[in-house]
Amino acid sequence: MTTHLEETYKAQPFMDMIEGFLHSTGIDALMNPRANEMNAHGEPISDFHKSWGRVIMILITFLLFYLAIARGFEPLLLLPIGFGGLLANIPLAGIGGDTGFLGIIYHMGLSNQLFPILIFMGVGAMTDFGPLLSNPKTALLGGAAQFGIFGTLVGAVVLSEYTPFFDFTLQQASAISIIGGADGPTSIFIATNLAPELLGAIAVASYSYMAMVPIIQPPIMKALTTDAERRIKMTTLRHVSRLEKLVFPILVLVLAILILPDATPLIGAFMFGNFLKETGVVDRLSDTMQNALINIVTIFLGLAVGSKLAADQFLVPDTLAILLLGIIAFSVGTAAGVIMAKIMNLFPGHKVNPLIGSAGVSAVPMAARVSNKVGMEYDRTNMLLMHAMGPNVAGVIGSAVAAGILMSIFK
């Protein structure tokens, strides 16, 4: 009667069971790292990463919770990512492994890059290209800010070549530098493609710095501008017709097809969402993209990214380098945007307030708000918000183009 049982369960004395229970506690697993415990990829982990490493990581996720809740650091992404990281660092449970639910979600939509694409659709459906259409030349500011990406790429390879601590491949350096694009889904898309082993650190750096835009950018903006420049008033934006908004996403996509097909997954998804919204005839689809769909995918994406915060992957020197390079990328991008505006003002025509140059990094809409806020510090009647939205959304396109270039180089 118990034959088929004996194969799968071995009876044992009650004291042994209690000992077994104690041995299966998390405290025991943290104190006495198991020799045979592997990471999510089936590779061996160091004892530190199985014990104190996990404790430190859990404390780091608490720090993320604090920043997200009390300081308002991109909570929509950082809370799911942080919680995913918390779950991924639980000993013995294997939640981040292939059969754990984080691992299942990861393979459902992150390893194949579906989730960032779907997020991009939703963001596209939330984006208004009106300000850019009414002042097209501000797109150049969104281009200049991409110097944050490529300048950082050079920085990363310099670190690898001339310091003994880091040894990034070109793929890894590229994946890190895309943090300078200040665009979450693009960062995740590229990291998953070129350096999945760095995904956790890159995503956390990307969203954290996007949240810190109000702290990072103002000093740079002020240092690079004169008082007179900051008070430049820009002309009122012209009215943009519905048809212009409708044709624009298709126009950009066609350009991408002709010039850089490797950027079309990102740009295509973004413009799909935007186009559906602008048609005005499928509101139920665009509403769903902007709400139920993007929310569901955000939860899944966050948890899946969080699964890459396992101690053995995050508590490595590379993470420090990524955090360092990330803030350099943001700063360089900000500076490049401001300087580009000053260069544009050397040419004849309507002057551009250089404070909107910083919005070119994207980080929509935070960076545009920062432009507006800094501007109002100097002239309370100078509303730069809508003017800054132009470079802001151009920065999204610019980052996607930059991502396409990197994809095409390594294909």
Partner: protein, 76 residues
């Protein structure tokens, strides 16, 4: 032959920034062209300023009130 990463990175930088500006410059040109064509050949009908504006305004106030009420309700 040993590859010099820094040289490669600088090449990437020029290529990348070049492509980004090329793309955005073309975008600016074509979007200006598009706007020109649309305003010339497909002008938007002028919204007629009629007495209907008043009730619309009223509607908007109602909507604003409802929206505020609902937002309040969600938070409360």
């Amino acid at each position: 032959m040993e590859t010099n990463l820094v040289v490669e990175g600088v090449k990437f930088m020029f290529l990348g920034m070049g492509a980004v500006f090329l793309f955005l410059a073309l975008m600016i040109v074509t979007m200006n062209l598009m706007s020109y064509i649309i305003h010339k050949f497909f002008p938007e009908p002028q919204p007629s300023v009629k007495s209907t504006v008043a009730p619309q305004e009223d509607n908007k106030k109602i909507v604003a009130a409802i929206t505020a009420a609902i937002a309040h309700h969600r938070q409360g």
